[in-house]
Amino acid sequence: MSGSAIAFYGIAAFVLITGLLTVTTKKLFRAAIWLLFSLIGIAALYFWMEVEFAAAVQVIVYVGGIVVLIIFSIFLTHQEGINMPSALTKRSIFAGLAVIAAAGYTCLLLLNHYWMKGSDEVFDPSVNKIGHLLVANTAESFVLPFELVSVLLLAAMIGCIVIALKAQPEKK
């Protein structure tokens, strides 16, 4: 087994174990920290696949943005030391069964499916090409979705401010 394979299986085990701890640990703050590690593992997987730009986006937006947002909201809404209410036993048993069955079935499909042969060209996700893909002035580029996502982000930011704004006390 080569070093690359060992690196992949190590990253996979790390991501899955920390992901499992994210959804099973009792304390909410610990769940957020495990989620942080899981997302870092996914960024490492992107580095392993040599998609450096996606890995950088993953680290900046997820690890640096969303997890920090989640940790802030935990501190705003919790006494962070207390345990979360445990999951209902019946519900976790049935959810576990359903999830294991679905995952097993999907893996079965993956293993039995005939995958077409990928072309032999070199995969080159450089920032230059990604920029051309997103905003170049050609028919193949994603300019309209890009602008829509920009507007969506702006609308989301304004919506967050409006929703989370403290209601003004009524003026007499």
């Binding site: 996979a12 909410l28 998609v51 969303i66 989640i70 995952a103 990928g118 995969f123 982000l153």
Partner: protein, 104 residues
């Protein structure tokens, strides 16, 4: 790199997706449910990049879609957290089962 069949990476993303689904079904705290949702979105991102890299290496559309998904996930997380904070301010509780004021 080529000695790992890419179905193994797809199986990793499948397992991660269903771990997220399990958390979404069993967690009762809204922030914990949001974290499970992030895991599921990340597994989808892995899928996009794997299919792009191993089946269509001459294109990079998968990477572009991953970036779109990350941006939309950021917007979704921000809105969800604003709603959760507002709910906490009104009811002092963010369990999903107690948020039933619109139900009756």
């Amino acid at each position: 790199m080529s000695e790992i069949p890419f179905t193994h990476i797809l199986m990793l993303s499948t397992a991660l997706f269903f771990i997220g689904a399990f958390g979404f079904l069993t967690r009762r705290n809204m922030i914990a449910m949001l974290m499970s949702l992030e895991l599921m979105l990340n597994s989808v991102n892995i899928n996009f990049i794997v299919f792009n890299k191993y089946l269509f290496p001459n294109n990079i559309e998968g990477v572009g879609f991953t970036i779109f998904i990350v941006a939309i996930a950021a917007a979704e997380a921000a809105v969800a957290i604003a709603i959760i904070i507002n709910l906490f301010r009104n009811t002092k509780n963010i369990d999903a089962e107690n948020a039933d004021h619109l139900k009756y």
